[in-house]
């Protein structure tokens, strides 16, 4: 792990030890049933045609990627046993395992990989399509066990885009000559993964059974795995406490202390989620709104916000104040010791005064000579957010009210939020859980790159344009060596912290919880129960 700062590696180790500590005392045993609570009915079980967290949570154990990911987020072999990088990163050659069969007994070959990318992933998997399709020149299969990816120019993030979350491999003999979105196999899947499909009762549960011919010898340990649909997070916790389920993907903040104190349960924090990893709650400033064009106003908002209060009151301490625009979980790209705007109400007030926003008797500010703003206009902004993030709105209103900014929170459900912010651009500020993904090319570039300004959702919400930042992202994207990419991302972060198109509030890892009778979970991957066991 070259280039990883020591303190972050140490912190990661502490989290891992905390996560694995209880397991170390338990002896893995074969057999048993694991019941996992999932929040939504996935609708179908084909993770290659969607980025939906519901489908990926329920279905990734049925599949594999060419590569997997270890607890540090680095690529490890999965369906491919080895790889070489040629032509400075423009060509990637993968050697596949020869002992892999599909759940129906058919042999897995390189043709499956080529088909999965060309006919399924690059058409329907929104993330893979968005990041890879324009860069890829072609995929070749010189023989049954070799796959070659050729790119138009060096392409850095590929190795982190090949796991079951980003690029699950589906069977060519099942999907060829059909519409991948309506193929019956989407609800009766045939994969290569550690578990085989048994049954799917819509809206209720998905039952999986051990794959006895799984290519990783001795795995999986469980006989059966049941995914139980329980939409209400409170009911999920009750079901765990009542012994009805064994594993939760997340625990609401108010319930965490209770479960932590109960010896019947184990907990671990992770930043991985099948729907998006390494997420940071981020305030966007709409650069198209005149009052937010002045960096002093954006800085005043940033300095008027006490991020520690967000961490305590909204997340119940589950997370970290963001120390840089890129997640600290992506240690090699995260800029250490960056000077971020700090909470300082007096400085925020001084900046607003200097920008021409003067405090009146009722404590709100009005424009007194602000360029482009009518004289006497009140300093009022709206704050658009998902209903689930309403506490962020309350704190924004309260904290910015103290420096004379009138904030109106505007809750919009996700299906309305996306077009309002990214298509209509009808907002002043908002809060978004931007997930950085496994590589900045996947989840960070889209926030700052000038060609990523709408209408696609969760792109450059601020409408930020900076040629220098664009050029640096281009450079980082075609630089394959990680140690050379680190200083490029540092430069980017230094620039955006000065420009402040966003303000990065808190990193939001989630807490997994499970019955102490079970163990062996890999919280950092979609194949989380590949080596899990439960004692009965």
């Amino acid at each position: 792990m070259r280039g990883v700062p020591g303190w972050i590696a140490a912190a990661a180790l502490v989290v891992l030890v905390a996560a694995t500590g209880p397991r170390a005392q338990e002896t893995p045993a074969r057999g048993g049933t694991l019941v996992v609570a999932i929040s939504a009915d996935p609708g179908h079980l084909n993770p290659a045609i969607t980025t939906s967290g519901a489908t990926h949570t329920a279905a990734e154990l049925l599949y594999n990627g060419l590569l997997g990911r270890d607890e540090r987020g680095d690529a490890i072999p999965d369906l491919a046993e080895s790889w070489t990088i040629e032509q400075a990163g423009a060509v990637y050659r993968f050697r596949l395992r020869d002992d892999v069969t599909w759940h129906d007994g058919t042999r897995f070959t390189s043709a499956d990989v080529k088909f999965s990318f060309e006919e399924v992933l690059l058409k329907f998997h929104a993330r893979t399509k968005a990041s890879m399709s324009s860069a890829l020149a072609g995929i070749e299969t010189p023989d049954d066990r070799t796959v070659v990816f050729r790119f138009k120019q060096p392409y850095a993030p590929l190795l982190l885009q090949l796991d079951a979350t980003e690029a699950p491999i589906v069977a060519k003999h099942v999907y060829q000559a059909s519409d991948p979105q309506t193929n019956p196999a989407n609800t009766q899947p045939i994969g290569t993964g550690p578990f085989k499909f048994t049954s799917y009762r819509k809206g209720a549960e998905i039952r999986l059974a051990r794959n006895p011919t799984y290519f990783k010898k001795g795995l999986p340990l469980l006989d059966e795995l049941v995914m139980r649909v329980i939409p209400d997070p409170g009911t999920q916790v009750l079901a765990l406490e009542n012994g009805e389920v064994d594993f939760l993907w997340g625990v609401p903040g108010p319930d965490q202390a209770r479960l932590k104190a109960d010896a019947r349960f184990r907990m671990a924090q992770t930043s991985y989620h099948p729907g998006g990893s390494n997420c940071i709650m981020t305030v966007s400033f709409n650069f198209e709104r005149p009052l937010l064009k002045d960096v002093r106003v954006r800085r005043a908002i940033a300095q008027g916000l006490d991020r520690e209060a967000f961490l305590r009151q909204v997340l119940f301490g589950e997370g970290r104040v963001a120390a840089a625009p890129i997640s600290s979980e992506m240690a090699w790209a995260h800029a250490r010791n960056l000077t971020m705007p700090s909470f300082d109400r007096a400085e925020a007030e001084r900046l607003l005064d200097a920008a021409g926003w003067k405090k009146e008797r009722d404590a709100t500010r009005v424009a007194r000579g602000v360029p482009g703003i009518a004289y006497g206009t009140r300093l009022a902004i709206d704050f658009v957010h998902f209903p689930a993030f309403s506490k962020y709105g309350e704190l924004m209103r309260q904290q910015l009210g103290a420096v004379g900014i009138d904030v109106t929170p505007r809750p919009l459900e996700p299906a309305v939020f996306a077009p309002t912010v990214f298509k209509d651009r009808n907002f002043d500020t908002n809060v978004i859980s931007y997930c950085n993904g496994p590589d900045p090319e996947i989840g960070v570039r889209r926030m700052y790159y000038s060609s990523q300004i709408g209408p696609a959702p969760f792109t450059n919400a601020a409408a930020y344009r900076n040629d220098r930042v664009d050029a640096l992202f281009d450079l980082a994207g075609r630089t394959v060596e990680r140690e050379k990419r680190t200083p490029i991302y540092r430069q980017i972060q230094e620039i955006v912290v000065q420009d402040l198109p966003y303000y990065w509030l808190v990193e939001t890892p989630t807490t997994r919880a499970w019955s102490a009778k079970c163990g062996g979970f890999k919280a950092w991957t979609g194949l989380f129960a590949e080596a899990a066991f439960c004692k009965r």
Partner: protein
């Protein structure tokens, strides 16, 4: 009641259904939100959205979409779910039994218990039993079902360990035969109880008031004067008292479905309520339209059935 009347009532369904389809279609499409953006989640590019819009026909003008949809409905084709990728009819039908079971059990339990409690209270008017029933009914009517559901889960399930808090069956044991039936009944108990609570309170109050009223009428006085035994007297009074109750129960099918959405969410009951909730969140328009159609049809048909029951309860009522 003539067959002609029945046919006429059923024929009225046609314009009603057409109106429902039109109104539901317009409301859903005019409301903000975009199914393709909801489907794509955090990522995607412009070409992907254009491709998905064309695939679902969302790039066509709204009137054209309506005509295509209406023509398909006439042929019995309610479309394909955006999220599930399967015909809507299949998606809805596989969830229907769970909701029917929950609603029927709640309706039966609340109606029977409500009649029993209402009669008991009326016969002991202003005595302790009556006061207790009236107080309980008032509390039951005023308690929101989502709150009651959580309290029931905490006390009756987690507190006693007697009931499960979620699902329609045991996740660890895939029972078959009568053991499966028993397992489902065990899981049904709490959600049905919570959903029934509100209806039970209303039915109790209505029956009590109706029976009290009937007990003071001349024909009851005559019956008593003739020496009719008290249970037979109450039976006569009850038959008249039930008329408004039947009307109210019939009219509350829609409300019961609303309650089912909340109760199904808390207890993870895999029925139409959960499907409705997830379809709203993902803007799965074809599923939403089908659910509107189904619930509206259920309300209309229940009203027809209510009218028929009315005539059966009161032979003086004639339809022609």
């Amino acid at each position: 009641m003539s067959a002609r009347y029945l046919l006429r009532r059923l024929a009225q369904l046609v314009p009603a259904v057409a109106g429902i389809v039109l109104v539901a279609f317009v409301i859903i499409h005019v409301a903000p939100g975009d199914p393709v953006l909801a489907l794509a989640g955090q990522h995607g590019d412009v070409a992907y959205y254009a491709f998905m819009r064309a695939k679902f026909g969302l790039n066509r003008p709204l009137p054209e979409q309506l005509v295509v949809y209406a023509a398909n409905v006439v042929r019995g084709d309610l479309g394909t779910s955006y999220v599930h990728g399967r015909p809507v009819v299949a998606v809805v039908l596989e969830r229907l039994p769970a909701t029917l079971l929950l609603m029927t059990t709640s309706l039966l339990a609340s109606s029977l218990a409500g009649i029993a409690l209402g009669v008991t209270a009326a016969r002991r008017a202003d005595r302790t039993a009556d006061l207790l029933v009236r107080f309980a009914a008032l509390v039951g009517y005023a308690t929101p079902s989502f709150w009651l559901a959580q309290i029931a889960a905490l006390t009756l399930a987690l507190g006693t360990g007697l009931f499960p808090v979620q699902g329609i069956s045991d996740a660890r044991q895939a029972w078959t035969g009568w053991r499966y039936v028993g397992d489902v009944v065990h899981h049904l108990a709490l959600p049905a109880l919570v959903l029934a609570a509100n209806e039970l309170a209303l039915t109790t109050r209505l029956v009590r008031a109706g029976v009290l009223d009937a007990l003071t009428t001349d024909y009851i006085r005559t019956a008593r004067a003739k020496g009719l035994p008290e249970p037979a007297v109450v039976r006569h009074a009850l038959r008249n008292a039930l008329l408004p109750v039947v009307t109210v129960i019939g009219g509350r099918i829609g409300m019961l479905f609303t309650g089912a959405v909340l109760v199904e969410t808390v207890f993870a009951w895999p029925g139409l309520g959960l499907l409705l909730l997830s379809s709203i969140q993902t803007r799965d328009t074809p599923v939403l339209l089908a659910l509107f159609l189904l619930v509206s049809l259920a309300v209309i048909l229940t009203n027809v059935i209510t009218d028929l029951t009315y005539a059966w309860l009161d032979p003086r009522i004639r339809y022609d």
